[in-house]
């Protein structure tokens, strides 16, 4: 049994501490953002933020998480609201941009893509195209993979989100 902090709330979980975080998030906490893609930290479908840094929940054990703050796709709107001192936000600007640019094809990888975009934009408010490509290809345990080929749309959406965030948020 362990207590973890997920999207601003302390949660007590039953899983043994050697359990990868992904199974805890999906099966015990019934979160549907992070997806099982490979279980090998090779694709990024399961990404979450751990104290603001993207990690792969499929290979990060419950023990390794400790008391650090986990943010999943579900937690992005509240994360944005907190950062901007808003009472609430329906969506994070990254999510809004993903809709406006119609990014997802099947959408299975997009959890990790939005997590990576959020991490990037929190560190670099207006990344260039090559910085975006670098972030999604080289900055984590592996490149973030999209089999449907949505990379072009992702780049457009990150740029749109960057503009919206500079203006203070989604329209």
């Amino acid at each position: 049994m362990a207590t973890i902090s997920v999207n601003g709330t302390k949660r007590e979980v039953q899983a043994s501490t050697d359990t990868p975080l992904l199974y805890v998030l999906r099966n015990e906490l019934e979160l549907s953002g992070p997806q099982f893609g490979c279980g090998l930290a090779q694709c990024g479908a399961c990404s979450v933020l751990l104290d603001g840094k993207e990690i792969r929940s499929c290979t990060t054990t419950l023990a390794a998480v400790g008391t650090k703050e986990i943010t999943t796709l579900e937690g992005l709107p509240a994360r944005w609201a907190h950062q901007k001192g808003l009472s609430s936000s329906e969506l994070h600007p990254v999510q809004q941009a993903w809709i406006e640019e119609q990014v997802p094809l099947c959408g299975f990888c997009q959890n990790g893509m939005m997590i990576k975009a959020t991490e990037l934009l929190e560190q670099n408010a207006s990344p260039s195209v090559s910085e975006i490509k670098d972030a999604f290809t080289k900055s984590g345990p592996s490149a973030h993979l999209c089999r449907c080929g949505s990379y072009t749309a992702i780049i457009a959406a990150v740029q749109l989100a960057s503009m919206q965030m500079a203006k203070g948020g989604a329209r």
Binding site: C38, G39, L91, Q102, L105, C146, I155
Partner: protein, 782 residues
């Protein structure tokens, strides 16, 4: 069926039974004729857990609040078609607004009427849902005529409001407390891969009056996926459900010798299930199931088997050892009996062999399914599947039961690109077998290596081409022979392993999908050339005959199935022929196409469009590129599902390493009418990225026993840093009067264009995919 008061309307049998209160919804139903699961439209009662095709609510519901619900058996896997194009098409035919269609019911076998797979969504311009809407519109006009008291011909409808004789009534009010029953002929077999087809010829709205089609509406599912509110197949949990992992055989031909003993001290809640050669481990938690399965696997003994050629020997095997004699040879419609007289007179000749490897569909998420075999014999399956009705038929066959007893619910999941179009992707039947064995709902999730090693692949192929040029540098004769193992093995793998009934493996006697026959799938578009022969040679799946499991390398269709395998050699050969003729590669194609034929005009138009948009350098000799990095350009053309495509790739290659950078890909698309420009553009961009990935990187690795590709390191796909600039040119041609498909062909265009560009840059032709650095480097040195 009650045939009294029946009139025939455009092929539909319109039955008036008076207007009955049915909760206020106008519902239009369809009967079934032909060889289907249902005997005929006169049989009101159909299978259990099936939409009764003679009942009204099967296709379209119009509600008193003016909202509209549509149902389709087509499962959208990211094409966006059912959530955008289908709504646009229905809105158009009903003269309703796009936003009025608030609900799309998709794929579920007990909630949708027509079955079939996730392909050819736009049905060559007339998908089932369009005809259903057109029939419904006629019924609505009849109703409006009666309610407004004016002749049908004087009714007009705009935004879902019918007007006539100075009065008007919105659809919602029109249908309140009313029912109109239509019985429309439908042909086909619901649980066959092709499903049902709506028959008849209802009047369709003239293209000139379109107001909804052609606009960039958003995909209504996007918002829920982005906000983590979508229910994915991976999210479904049932009370008492157990998690399962499969212990797959050691090789693709290994039978079980002994199952490993489960260590109950470590995994007290786990349980092993064995049926034939299918070994599953179930446990209440997923982590326990994973670890227990690993522990059981380590102690499980399998017979060894070696029956595959290994990927290094693949093409030697296909040339020398494969049986191409048992399966009949096919010929395209346009083929002559013999082109050898013309070929022998040619002044220049190209003779070449082209090779394409096995490639994986490689969905981003491994296959999974949750099955609930209930005590009353009803089976529920929750999964992501491109053809749920076909799965239903397969599960019924496996358990020797009726499809009545089976319900397949399909939810969002990773793109399959054709892999489950035959009804299964791997986990579905295994979940059913395990659930039946333990008497509880069971969720089977494959791990990443299994998804590479136990799923189907797109078959390898090779082609022999001969092109003869006359003295003027024109093609005097063209001959191509395509060789490819069977492409569509729809046997559920769990059933095969468990020794339960399945359809036969593809064989020479099989028809259509169950056959080893290699049909000509790439329509000839250079109609200025008539001296052609196109032949298809088929064979059994590699290793299947010698595998005691009858497994081997199982194949399944992948976007542009068979056509990619035939288009790559054709297009690269045409480029080579252009060079032999001393002609520009695009102009050579234009010069072999009739400008005044219906097809020719569109082929020439896409070629000219792509030439202009890409910045193509028109020249009759290859690129004058020198230095350590060489640059070149290449073109490819394809016709598929009513749509004409042309592509230009501009690349840079470093001969010392063999590394290719695809700098820019330009795609021109003429589908006739562009239904939704934004969604089509995204589909083309996505397909182009996947196509570049296939061209540069993808090749199944296997040894004599099985597939050695096991993860994203051994099966790399294109990463964001390596994508080209992509330019999409949408050619909207309303005068064509219909809309072609847009979700597949982009995948196939890049490879021949890139290989052509490599030739342009280096003068060396590489006729084998993928264009990996090591292969390219070796070819450039040769």
């Amino acid at each position: 069926m009650n045939r009294r008061n029946q009139t025939s309307v455009y092929g539909a049998a319109l039955t008036r039974r008076g207007f009955v209160k049915t909760g206020g919804a106008l519902m239009v139903g369809f009967g079934v004729a032909g060889t289907g699961v249902f005997e005929s439209s006169s049989k009101a009662a159909t299978m259990r857990n099936t939409l009764d095709a003679s009942l009204p609510e099967s296709w379209i519901e119009i509600h008193p609040d003016n909202t509209i619900l549509i149902r389709t058996g087509k499962s959208d896997f990211g094409q966006s078609t059912t959530f955008t194009a289908y709504r646009q098409i229905v809105a158009e035919e009903l003269n309703a607004s796009f936003d009025a269609i608030t609900t799309v019911v998709m794929g579920d076998t007990d909630r949708t009427p027509d079955g079939s797979g996730a392909f050819d969504f736009l049905g060559s311009g007339t998908p089932n849902i369009r005809k259903a809407a057109a029939y419904t519109y006629q019924a609505l006009l009849d109703l409006a005529s009666q309610r407004l008291g004016v002749p049908k011909a004087s009714i007009s409808v705009k935004d879902g409001v019918a007007s006539g004789g100075g009065k008007s009534m919105p659809y919602g009010e029109l249908v309140k407390g009313q029912q109109l029953k239509l019985t429309i002929p439908v042909k086909g077999d619901l649980t066959s891969p092709m499903g049902l087809t709506v028959d008849g010829n209802p009047p369709m709205k003239p293209v000139s009056e379109y107001t909804v089609i052609g606009k960039s509406f958003r995909n209504s599912v996007t918002a829920s996926k982005v906000a983590a509110k979508e229910q994915w197949a991976t999210d479904v949990r049932l009370p008492g459900m157990l998690h399962a992992r499969i212990v797959h055989p050691k090789t693709l031909g290994s039978t079980l010798v002994q199952v490993g003993t489960l260590d109950k001290s470590k995994f007290p809640n786990a349980q092993v299930v064995v049926k034939g050669n299918l070994v599953g481990v179930v446990a209440p938690t997923e982590w326990e199931a994973i670890r227990a399965a690993d522990q059981v696997a380590s102690g499980t003994k399998w017979k060894d088997w070696k029956g595959l050629p290994g990927h290094a020997r693949l093409f030697d095997f296909l040339k020398r050892d494969a049986d191409w004699k048992t399966t009949r040879v096919t010929k395209s419609d346009k083929s002559k009996d013999d082109v050898s007289p013309a070929m022998s007179k040619a002044s220049k000749k190209l003779t070449a062999n082209y090779q394409m490897p096995f490639i994986k569909h490689a969905p981003l998420g491994p296959t999974m399914a949750l099955a609930d075999v209930r005590k009353d014999g009803t089976i529920y399956i929750y999964t992501h599947n491109q053809n749920p009705q076909a799965l239903r038929g397969e599960i019924a066959m496996m358990l020797a039961t009726q499809p009545d007893n089976i319900v397949v619910r399909t939810l969002s999941g990773p793109g399959h690109y054709g892999r489950s179009n035959g009804g299964n992707a791997g986990a579905e039947d295994e979940a059913v077998i395990l659930s039946q064995a333990v008497g509880k709902p069971v969720r089977v999730q494959w791990m990443r290596p299994e998804d590479f090693q136990w799923s189907t692949q797109s078959p390898a192929s090779m082609s022999d081409v001969e092109i003869g040029l006359d003295a003027n540098g024109k093609i005097a004769a063209y001959q191509i022979d395509h060789y490819m193992p069977a492409m569509q093995d729809d046997r559920p793998i769990g059933a095969v392993l468990a020794g339960l009934p399945t359809m036969a493996a593809p064989n020479e006697k099989g028809v259509f999908i169950g056959s080893t026959v290699n049909d000509i799938s790439d329509p000839w578009i250079y109609d200025g050339v008539v001296n052609i022969v196109e032949r298809g040679h088929g064979t059994f799946q590699v290793g299947e005959k010698s595998s005691p499991l009858t497994v081997g390398l199982r194949d399944h269709s992948l976007r542009t199935p068979g056509q990619f395998q035939q288009n790559f050699p054709r297009e690269l050969a045409i480029t080579e022929a252009a060079a032999l003729a001393g002609a520009d590669s695009i102009q050579f194609r234009i010069d072999h196409t009739k400008p005044d034929s219906k097809d020719g005009e569109r082929v020439i138009n896409v070629l000219k469009s792509v030439r202009e948009a890409s910045g193509w350098e028109t020249r009759t000799s290859r690129a004058k590129s020198t230095g350590s990095v060489l640059r070149g350009q290449g073109v490819s053309v394809m016709f598929r599902s009513g749509t004409y495509w042309a592509c230009v790739a501009q690349i840079a290659v470093t001969p010392s390493t063999g590394a290719i950078t695809v700098e820019k890909v330009t795609v021109a698309v003429d589908p006739g009418i562009v239904v939704n420009p934004m969604q089509l553009k995204r589909q083309v961009e996505g397909g182009t990225v996947m196509g570049v990935s296939i061209a540069l990187l993808e090749e199944l690795q296997f040894d004599e026993s099985g597939i050695t590709t096991r993860d994203w390191r051994t099966y790399p796909i294109l990463k964001m840093a390596d994508i080209p600039e992509i330019k999409v040119v949408l050619l909207n041609r309303p005068e064509v009067g219909t809309y072609g498909g847009g979700s597949e062909a982009a995948n196939a265009l890049a490879a021949p264009a890139i290989a052509s560009a490599l030739f342009d840059a280096t003068g060396k032709i590489v006729r084998r995919l993928p264009l990996k650095p090591e292969y390219v480097q070796a070819a450039l040195k040769a």
